[in-house]
């Protein structure tokens, strides 16, 4: 039925699509929650509350005696070293892959010019490489690498480098595509190379985002190193594993407090870096 133009103009033409997508999201989410056995009421069941309370009670008070704190400090330094070295290696891995993947630094796209097919093929290959790196959980990499390097932080460092290299590379390329890409494109159009187009055209606008995402990943690496510790990669994780096996809740809570402080530190570093680059 034909509608008058005024009627048409007064109705949002996108409303139906929006409603359909919202409905589809709910319809999809519901069975997923069922599969995941999501029953929030269980949390407040009297019996469960008692069990949880008893478990939490073991954590108090935190163990603050000098000997254990000394051990914890040494493990903290080890964890920080593992996370930092891991992230540094991850950046070395991620930077070239991220730059290669980013469409905003593609010269053959202009026109399109020569080498377009080759460029797209290389980009697909890079995407695949990043997928493989981050698709396998770091704990699996760690288990694998512990067999090569033996027990100790080296396996943890490499496991973090590999997985986080994959994550950083993917997000780097997305950050480089999401900002204002015109400055870089214009440089490429006047004969600049890819790397210099990145430094002169993209980096000034995206340095903040790149840095704060990297610091956030460093924070994640600190946490990930705990899990590595469970498989023998040293650091706070290994200490926590021992404390848990000895059912020493006080020591576990001391380690958890150290974790909270480390996350706080990461936050402070992140905002300092953002302020410097602003």
């Amino acid at each position: 039925m034909p509608r008058s133009t005024t009627q048409q103009a007064l109705r949002d033409p996108d409303a139906r699509a929006r409603a359909t997508w919202a409905l589809a999201a709910v319809v999809l989410l519901w069975p997923l929650l069922l599969v995941a056995q999501f029953r929030p009421a269980d949390l407040f069941d009297a019996r469960n509350l008692k069990v949880i309370g008893g478990f939490l009670g073991q954590f108090f008070p935190p163990n603050l005696n000098g000997e254990f704190l000394g051990l914890a400090l040494k493990a903290t330094v080890e964890t920080l070293a593992m996370a930092t070295a891991g992230i540094a290696l991850a950046m070395v891995l991620a930077a070239p892959l991220g730059l290669a993947l980013s469409h905003s630094l593609s010269i053959s796209r202009i026109g399109p010019g020569p080498g377009r097919a080759l460029g797209e093929a290389l980009r697909a290959l890079t995407r695949l490489a990043l997928l493989a790196l981050r698709g396998i959980p770091e704990i699996v990499w760690a288990l694998l690498l512990v067999r090569a390097f033996g027990l100790g932080p080296a396996a943890g460092v490499l496991a973090i480098a590999v997985t986080y290299g994959g994550m950083l590379g993917k997000v780097y390329s997305e950050i480089l595509e999401s900002g204002d890409t015109r400055p870089a494109r214009v440089l490429l159009e006047s004969g600049s190379g890819r790397l210099m187009a990145f430094f002169y055209g993209l980096l000034p606008g995206s340095a903040q985002e790149l840095a704060s995402y990297t610091v956030y990943r460093w924070e994640c690496a600190v946490r990930a190193s705990v899990i590595m510790g469970f498989v023998g990669a040293g650091g706070l994780g290994q200490l926590m594993d021992q404390s848990m096996k000895m059912l020493n809740g006080g020591e576990v809570s001391t380690i958890l407090i150290i974790f909270l402080l480390l996350v706080l530190l990461a936050d402070a570093i992140s905002s300092a870096v953002r302020r410097t680059l602003a």
Binding site: S108, G113, V186, S192, Y200
Partner: protein
């Protein structure tokens, strides 16, 4: 020949036609203005000359090369010989003016020189000299987000002057400037082109600058060239038909009335020639 376009057609990816059968050539050292209503295809035409757009139809030759038959490395070298002043200067807000100007030579410098220049500028006198020509020398070390729209546009011009291209293209180079600065900037583009004998092509939405400064004026309308005349022969009636669909007055700086003799009934009379200001 500085460039030759033969029967160029351009259809954008969304199916919209931007240019139709455009044939245009310029000898080395010529200075052309492209005028026409907005949406006429002025920017598309310049982007084809800049080898940043590939035409759908027709043949392109820029600086004696066919850009779309060159291997990657040579296309890159060709692009470093073409300088483009953009209407909205594509400069990162957090970059300093000096770095933005230095970026004009990225296509000519070896990569290590460009990289070292990020730590300490490889050339300070050069960028300063180009900014000084545009009355911006005191802004050399300021960040682009500290500059006004007109100042940014001049930094963009300084970058291209520093690049020293063999083909100088300018897309609405003075759209954000007041008349005095616009004249200064256009005069600097002209003196650069004259001093080094290179070709200058500028698209302009204001008619008076085009007629005052450019020996050759091209009228573009709906993607087609409607006239290609020496400035002295661009008459009022030619201009009126070019801008027929617009408001009735011709677009000029500050909307000042254009000093053109009204067309005679039979043959268009030559307009009164306004001598261009002396090139500094």
């Amino acid at each position: 020949m500085s460039f030759e376009l033969a029967q160029i057609g351009l259809v954008h990816a969304n199916g919209q036609r931007a240019l139709r059968a455009v044939t245009l050539a310029a000898a080395r050292g010529e200075r052309l203005a492209i005028i026409g209503p907005s949406g006429a295809g002025k920017s598309s035409l310049l982007r084809i000359l800049a080898t940043s757009l590939r035409p759908t139809e027709g043949r392109v030759s820029v600086l004696e090369r066919n850009p779309w038959q060159l291997p990657g490395a040579e296309l890159k070298r060709l692009r470093s010989r073409i300088g483009v002043v953009h209407q909205a200067p594509p400069l990162p807000p957090r970059q300093r003016a000096i770095t933005a100007v230095i970026a004009g030579r990225l296509g000519q410098w070896p990569w290590w020189k460009s990289a070292l220049s990020l730590l300490y500028p490889a050339d300070i006198a050069g960028p300063r000299e180009q900014l000084a020509r545009l009355d911006l020398a005191d802004r050399l070390f300021e960040r682009c987000d500290q500059l006004s729209g007109g100042q940014l546009q001049r930094v963009g011009v300084a970058r291209v002057l520093y690049q020293r291209p063999e083909l100088l293209l300018a897309d609405e180079p003075v759209s954000a400037m007041d008349p005095a600065l616009a004249d200064l900037t256009v005069s600097q583009l002209h003196s650069e082109a004259a001093a080094r004998g290179v070709t200058l092509v500028a698209s302009l939405h204001v008619v008076d600058i085009a007629l005052r400064w450019f020996p050759r004026v091209i009228g573009l309308k709906a993607g087609e060239i409607v006239f290609d005349l020496p400035a002295a022969r661009v008459s009022d009636s030619v201009l009126r038909s070019l801008y027929a669909s617009e408001t009735g007055t011709l677009p000029t700086q500050d909307n000042q009335p254009l000093d053109i003799a009204p067309a005679a009934p039979s043959e268009p009379t030559a307009r009164k020639i306004i001598p261009p200001p002396r090139v500094i």
